[in-house]
Amino acid sequence: MEKVTQFTGTGMPLKISNVDTDQIIPAVFLKRITKTGFEDGLFANWRQNPDFVLNNPSFQGAEVLVAGSDFGTGSSREHAVWALRDYGFKAVFSSKFADIFLGNSGKQGLIAGVITDADTETLWEQIDADPAAKITVDLPSQEIRVNDVVIRFGIDEYTKWRLTEGLDDIGITLQSEDAIAAYEAKRESWKPKTLPAKGV
């Protein structure tokens, strides 16, 4: 995985709370078996409304999405993160994320940072005042900088370390092969096995 540290880009305000993953990418786009090219599915239903923020030319090319609270609720579909990433977003901020969405973001190098509701409002004001305003997102210092405003965002330490080092989760776990094997050796014998198949 590529290292994620710092970038500067413009922002997009998504002034909606409770954005579930069915809205981020409707189920019809989940039938694909590839892992890229999901940008056309991002907010596909909402995008049909010409007034939806994604259709506003002022925000074209934005890399920072600032959303209302409870972002990414519902379905576990990692496609929601792929769609945001493929569309060009490198970071999304909200006062609250659903757990599975947060986990999925961390696996794909999308920064999902937690900010306060007041800071969300501040960022919306900054972006509305000047959609071309340069926003710097700095992962090591956990800071969002725009004009004279500096906002600190929350992200768990481990995800931050993994992203900044560009480390692959599975690779890290496989270093613990001995511990996994030791655990397997003492598993209870009553625990189920799918093989050989019974009840067929």
């Binding site: 909606i16 709370s17 409770n18 579930d20 069915d22 809205q23 409707p26 189920a27 019809v28 989940l30 039938k31 078996i33 590839t34 892992k35 239903n45 209302g68 609270s69 409870d70 609720t73 519902g74 379905s75 576990s76 579909r77 990692e78 609250k96 994320f97 659903a98 757990d99 599975i100 986990g103 999925n104 696996k107 794909q108 509701d117 330490e157 481990y158 370390w161 989760d169 599975i170 890290i172 776990t173 496989l174 613990s176 511990a179 996994i180 655990y183 397997e184 598993r187 209870e188 014998s189 009553w190 625990k191 189920p192 096995k193 799918t194 093989l195 198949a197 019974k198 009840g199 067929v200």
Partner: protein, 471 residues
């Protein structure tokens, strides 16, 4: 040695710890059972191939086809090319990696969260994961069961473990006795309405109290299933005699000495009496009415006896804005009585409410009754096995005589990845779990209800409680 009193979820965590995380790193947990379906797995298998990795424990892994599968004409090739390709990818991947699969037409094919329990693979004391948020269903057995993303599916395939951050614990205490016509679905809809769709974030919810103890396994699965709708990491219920009786004769239930040892281990799977939860919620089962949703998230619900709330009644500005947006989408007005809302379609199905008991509850209400004019009702059993059992009991005949569509098993209209969708603007009473915008079809409007309310609604044409039929 004195040990700290623990909640049930904390005991399961402790028992599955492979490595304790240091310096803020997550703990590494062992996964006992990995369920797979066609939607969230193809990219995970690609990842394995790309890295030259194998599946670590084929014997702890099982796959089925559910999201894309048609619920009629299942002997024909799947019409939609992308759906067909995705199902084919699962078949190819499971063949290549030698993983057990139950395909369309097999009696154990069905919704992954119905298949695991019916095979007896889901049992107390396990960690269960699946690339599906409704994996929380399996918590009904006293298992720690979580939905995961595709990257984590790949992680579990490769390592049979997952790095996980610790959770907080919340007790959901439901005391009392449910009245006639009120069921597990009403309990969980009331819980989500009370704590909101984000209220459970970071928590494992443990459902407790006399009303939970009185529930069958099916009812408990309905409740745990929708834990994710409150934003929770998982939902869990301590196993008891009802759990053990359910499991006893299931194909993969432990046998002989293993069964005795399992019972001994399972009997310890309770929250210590002096353990402390990080949060507690209380629900009174005695006074609970059938509960239904009016909005576009599962937390936007009220008693069926109530009216649609005024958005101005919400103190929180974002909740107020969400209510205004939801009512516009739902084409509803504040103050309208829930029972005055007419529906076009009734959907009885999904991993929340498509088990045999759900079908029986609905069939008992519609038996000998007439469907309201203009209503379409679709009944989709959770698995082929549920379908066969229902046919053995004659339930299919009850549904067909009533004028309902009797279908084959799958996720169906819960999310409309197969042809079972609502038309734009169409309104449904649905026993599924999500009333999100467009969930059951583009522009479709969903009211979440229990199987009994679904049945009563199909008879009256407007959202109705079973008790309305007696008047």
């Amino acid at each position: 040695m004195s040990s700290k009193p623990l909640t049930l979820a904390e005991k399961l965590w402790r028992d599955h710890l492979v490595l304790k995380g240091e310096n803020g790193a997550p703990d590494l947990l062992y996964i006992d059972l990995h369920l797979i379906h066609e939607v969230t797995s193809p990219q995970a298998f690609d990842g394995l191939r790309l890295a030259g990795r194998d599946v670590r424990r084929r014997d702890l892994t099982i796959a089925t086809e559910d999201h894309n599968t048609p619920t009629q004409d299942i002997h024909l090739p799947i019409v939609d090319a992308t759906s067909r390709a995705q199902v084919q990818a699962l078949r190819d991947n499971t063949r290549e990696f030698d993983i057990r699969i139950h395909s369309l037409g097999d009696k154990n094919q069905g919704i992954v969260h119905v298949v695991g329990p019916q095979l007896g693979l889901t049992m107390p004391g396990l960690t269960v994961v699946c690339g599906d948020s409704h994996t929380s269903t399996h918590g009904a057995f006293g298992a720690l069961a979580m939905g995961i993303g595709t990257s984590e599916v790949e992680h579990v395939l490769a390592t049979q473990t997952l790095p996980l951050q610790r959770f907080k614990t919340m007790a959901i205490n439901v005391e009392g006795t449910l009245r006639k016509g009120v069921s597990a679905k009403d309990i969980i809809l009331a819980v989500i309405s009370k704590i909101s769709t984000g209220g459970g974030q970071g928590y494992v919810l443990e459902y407790r109290g006399s009303a939970i103890r009185a529930l069958s396994m099916e009812g408990r699965m309905t409740i745990c299933n929708m834990s994710i709708e409150a934003g929770a990491r998982a939902g869990i219920i301590a196993p008891d005699q009802i759990t053990f009786d359910y499991l006893k004769d299931k194909p993969h239930a432990p046998q002989g000495a293993d069964w005795d040892q399992a019972l001994k281990d399972w009997s310890e799977l309770t929250t210590d009496h002096d353990a402390v939860f990080d949060a507690e919620v209380f629900i009174d089962a005695d006074t609970l009415d059938p509960f239904v949703t009016w909005g576009t998230n599962p937390g936007q619900g009220v008693s069926l006896m109530d009216s649609i709330p005024d958005p101005d009644s919400f103190d929180d500005p974002s909740q107020k804005a969400a209510a205004i947006k939801a009512l516009a989408y739902m084409d509803l007005k504040a103050g309208t009585k829930m029972k005055d809302i007419a529906v076009d379609t009734v959907f009885l199905g999904s991993c929340t409410n498509a088990r045999i008991e759900d079908l029986r509850a609905a069939a008992d209400i519609i038996r000998g009754q007439v469907m309201a004019p203009g209503i379409r009702m679709m009944v989709v059993p959770g698995s082929q096995k549920v379908r066969l059992q229902a046919e053995e009991e004659g339930l299919d005949k009850v549904f067909v005589d009533f004028g309902a569509d009797w279908r084959f098993a799958g996720c169906s209209m819960c999310l409309g990845m197969n042809p079972d969708q609502l038309a734009p603007g169409e309104r449904a009473a649905s026993t599924s779990n999500r009333n999100f915008e467009g969930r059951q079809g583009k522009g479709a409007r969903t009211h979440l209800v229990s199987p009994m309310v679904a049945a009563a609604t199909a008879i009256r044409g407007t959202l109705s409680a079973p008790s309305d039929l007696e008047q």
